[in-house]
């Protein structure tokens, strides 16, 4: 089975690194990282990951904007995207679902739980 490749886009170095460690350690996936929305767009297009874990609140280009651009790009439109948000309210999460994202996971997270959630969302066995 081919190792899954997942792109983590988050402006916060700590969160990005911890997420990377979690996904690598708990799932054995290959993790790519980007520190901003624009960097993430470029990597998604060039690296063609199997999925994208996208932070919502970023300074230059926030998560929803980045997602819209991913969807607007034929090279990245097919990549399932999961939003990573600190907003725990169901109503807020619903707004993101309405954008068309594949799923939403919340901060803070535990390594195994994060992996399990992503697998469930993406239907990865």
């Amino acid at each position: 089975m081919t190792t899954k490749r997942i792109l983590v886009i988050d402006d916060d170095d700590g969160v990005r690194e911890i997420a990377q460690f979690c996904l690598e350690a708990a799932a054995g996936w290959e993790v790519l990282t980007a520190a901003s929305g624009s960097e993430g767009l470029a990597k998604a297009e060039s690296e063609q990951p199997d999925a994208i874990l996208l932070d919502v609140m970023m300074p230059d280009m926030d998560g929803p904007t980045t997602f819209r651009q991913l969807q607007a790009n034929a090279a990245t439109v097919h990549i399932p995207t999961i939003l990573l948000t600190a907003k725990a309210k169901i109503s807020e999460q619903q707004q993101f679902i309405n954008l068309g994202v594949t799923g939403v996971v919340t901060k803070p997270f535990k390594a195994q739980e994060l992996v399990d959630q992503i697998r469930e969302i993406l239907n990865w066995k």
Partner: protein, 791 residues
């Protein structure tokens, strides 16, 4: 009525009879008169005819006498004298008779007769002379001849005269005959007319009499019927109807009366004194009533009666005199009704009335009290109205009254102040077209109509447009206006201008969201790191493990700083941190701050240039040093190695108090972080305006300035701040670059804390910057010197 009819009939009858008699008398008199006249005329005719016949006879006799004389004379025989003798004697008689007849005639006729008579006598004399001559035998022919001739002539005269008289009489006779005929005809006509008239009157009288008889019969029948009906009514009358004799005894009584008396039949009471059953206390009054009625004075009396079976009743009787056709009082008619129930009701009523009067008295007292209370309420209402009006005029809420068509009827002064119109400009204007943005008109007009039709109160928010075109968000509370009849005449809406509050709430929401993110972000790193370690997914001793621990430690430290800054900022803005103000020297503050930051500057290769001035100010030195170190820290962080950061202080002047006027719109906004040209002039600065209308400040004391401030400035040669962020950097978590807070170790709250500290000192903070050239942060603090003071 009957008497009247009879009277009319009698009058007509006598009148007609009298008329009939009068006509008969007239007819009889006319008949009698005509008959008498006719008789007179017959007698006259007979008289005339007798005269004519007498004259004719005299003529015949004279002729006979002549004939006899002639025979005698001729013959001499005596026998011829017999006609003569008879004639003379007859003529003499005739003359006497005619004399008598003509005596009643007219004088000319009498004169003619007398002439005739003398001529006849003369003739007879001549005849006698001739005869005598014969007898004397003196037969003288000549004489005879002369006598004959004379006699003949006379004879002719007599004949002529008689003929004349006869003709006259004949004419008279014919005239009288004609008159008699006319008279007779007239008499017949009168008699016929009288007969016809009499017959007509007779028939008329007969008709009248017949009619009168029929009318009388009808009247008598009607009278009988009326009497029967009256008796039936009286018998059926629920009230007692009785007839008393003049002495007060009962003569007649109907069934109701018998029932009142408790009598079985009329015989039981007939002839009894009417007062016998009246209770003793009312008997005298009753007797007096009947006696008064008996002399023609009607009256009413209420009395009590004890029936034959002992039942007591209250009765009311109305006694009137009863008269016959001659208007003589023949008795007393008494109509009596049972008023026992009425009396009992009166007793109850009186009792109720007494109770009512008591209640009325009580109620009146209550009403007086209520009236007093009402007056107090009216006074209270008046005062309340005054207060409400005062409230409407002064309240800092928008009050708008619309009529049913949505036209403005009332606005309060605050509304006018808010929208910038005058009262004259808005009165009668269409609310929706004038004050609402187009995209809201339809919805709010529908809401207005629903309010009018369904009469429920609504709460809503809407934007209104001011005269300048700006928008204000108003939270409305709509109510209906009704007139005294309860009809809806419009709406009254009270609105609160929540533009600023709404902005603040939005900012708060954003702040909470940001804080949540800012807190969760390090927490996520810590939580994830510890989970990796605790779950054994990452070995703590491995390189990855050490990196994980490092991340956790960094973020824990960051979290602590963040929490501290948040708490400090909140305490500052809530006024929970009291400034310990004291007199301090600006130079000392600058030096202390520089000392604190010198290590960091050295580490970053930055030169700190300080230009102190000995200016005294009233401030919390620790807090001002906190501001200065924060600004210096930012300058050092964002300056490249080898560059310089300048720290200066100087005194500035302004006549403004507070230093910078705060407009209505500015209240809800963050304080401006730059000085515009107008403000520069106000605070006594002169400077060259930059492209964006700001100016670099240069102090220039002016004698007219009243207040002085200390102006601190921290200037760097860093990357600069974009113009669109020059104001927002003082907001919480509004760094130019959010990643700065992580990269540079900040929390995103430093400038917000600086602003809060400066504002609490009565100062102001702002920034000037040019991208790629550097930034300069200024803040002012009031000095110790008061108005008009000198350095």
């Amino acid at each position: 009525m009957k008497r009247a009819i009879e009277s009319n009939i009698a009058t007509s009858r006598w009148g007609l009879a009298l008329l009939y008699l009068l006509i008969l008398i007239c007819v009889s008199w006319v008949s009698y008169h005509s008959t008498v006249t006719l008789l007179e005329r017959v007698n006259l005719e007979r008289h005339t005819r007798a005269e004519i016949a007498g004259l004719q006879e005299i003529l015949f006799e004279i002729t006979d006498a002549e004939t006899g004389r002639r025979g005698y004379v001729i013959t001499g025989q005596e026998q011829f004298l017999r006609p003569y003798n008879r004639a003379t004697s007859t003529i003499e008689k005739q003359l006497k008779q005619l004399q008598q007849r003509f005596s009643n005639d007219a004088l000319n006729e009498q004169r003619q007769f007398n002439e005739l008579k003398s001529m006849v006598i003369q003739r007879l004399s001549l005849l006698e002379q001739s005869i005598n001559l014969k007898k004397q035998h003196e037969s003288d022919d000549d004489i005879q001849i002369a006598l004959n001739a004379q006699g003949k002539a006379l004879q002719e005269q007599i004949r002529a005269l008689i003929t004349e008289i006869q003709n006259k009489k004949g004419q008279e006779l014919r005239l009288k005959a004609e008159q008699s005929t006319v008279q007779a005809t007239r008499t017949i006509a009168v008699i016929l007319a009288g007969f016809c008239l009499s017959l007509t009157i007779f028939l008329w009288v007969y008709y009248l009499l017949s009619r009168q008889i029929i009318q009388r019969q009808q009247a008598e029948a009607a009278l009988a019927k009326s009497e029967k009906r009256l008796r039936t009514i009286i018998e059926a009358e629920p009230e007692c109807v009785e007839v008393l004799a003049l002495d007060g005894t009962i003569q007649e009584m109907n069934a109701a009366g018998l029932a009142m008396m408790e009598a079985n039949d009329l015989q039981q009471v007939i002839g009894q004194p009417a007062c016998s059953l009246v209770t003793p206390e009312h008997r005298d009054s009753f007797t007096a009533l009947t006696q008064q009625a008996a002399v023609g004075n009607p009256g009413i009396l209420q009395f009590e009666l004890v029936g034959l079976r002992g039942t007591r009743r209250w009765l009311e009787t109305h006694a009137v005199p009863l008269r016959n056709e001659q208007n003589e009082i023949t008795g007393v008619l008494s109509i009596t009704r049972d008023i026992t129930a009425q009396k009992q009701a009166e007793v109850v009523l009186k009792k109720a009335k007494d109770e009512l009067e008591i209640r009325v008295a009580d109620r009146t007292g209550e009403l007086v009290q209520a009236n007093h209370q009402l007056q107090q309420i009216a006074a209270t209402l008046l005062e309340a109205e005054r207060r409400w009006r005062s409230l409407l005029e002064n309240v800092r809420l928008v009050v708008v009254g619309l009529d049913r068509n949505g036209k403005l009827e009332y606005v309060n002064p605050f509304f006018l102040e808010l929208v910038g119109y005058t009262k004259t400009e808005v009165e009668g204007q269409d609310w929706f077209k004038t004050f609402l943005p187009p995209h809201q008109r339809s919805r709010l007009q529908n809401s207005f109509l629903e309010l009018l039709e369904q009469e429920f109160y609504t709460h809503e928010q809407s934007i209104i447009l001011t005269k300048s075109g700006s928008e204000r968000l108003i939270a409305w509370n709509n109510t209906l206006l009704k007139n005294l009849q309860g009809d809806v005449i419009g709406t009254l809406s009270i609105g609160e201008d929540i533009t600023e509050r709404h902005a603040i709430e939005r900012m708060k929401d954003e702040f909470v969201s940001v804080v949540s993110h800012e807190l969760r972000t390090p927490l996520t790193s810590i939580h994830g790191a510890l989970n990796l370690l605790s779950s054994g997914l990452v070995e703590a001793q491995s390189d990855k493990g050490r990196r994980v621990i490092e991340i956790a430690a960094e973020n824990a430290e960051r979290l602590v700083r963040l929490v501290n800054d948040i708490l400090e900022l909140e305490r500052l803005e809530a006024g929970k941190i009291s400034l310990s103000k004291q007199s301090c020297n600006a130079t000392e503050l600058l030096i202390k701050a520089t000392d604190l930051m010198q290590v960091m500057a050295n580490h970053a290769g930055i030169t700190l240039s300080v230009s102190p001035q000995a200016i005294q100010l009233e401030a919390d030195p620790d807090r001002i040093i906190q501001v200065l170190t924060n600004l210096l820290g930012n300058a050092i962080k964002f300056s490249s190695r080898g560059s310089t950061v300048w720290l200066t202080v100087e005194r500035v002047y302004t006549h403004l108090s507070p230093p910078y006027p705060v407009s209505h719109e500015q209240k809800a906004k963050p304080l401006l972080c730059s000085v515009d040209v107008a403000c520069q002039q106000d605070i006594g600065f002169t400077g060259t305006p930059t492209e964006n209308g700001k100016a670099l400040v240069e102090p220039r004391p002016r004698s007219e300035c009243l207040n002085s401030f200390v102006l601190f400035a921290v200037k760097d040669q860093g990357r600069g701040i974009p113009a669109d962020k020059i104001e927002s950097i003082f907001e919480r978590f509004h760094q130019v670059d959010a990643s700065d807070s992580r990269k540079k170790g900040g929390t995103g709250l430093g400038l917000a804390i600086c602003r809060s500290i400066v504002q609490q000192h009565g100062g102001r903070i702002w920034a000037e910057s040019t991208l790629g050239e550097g930034s300069c942060f200024y803040f002012t603090l009031p000095t110790e010197l008061g108005i008009g003071g000198n350095p």
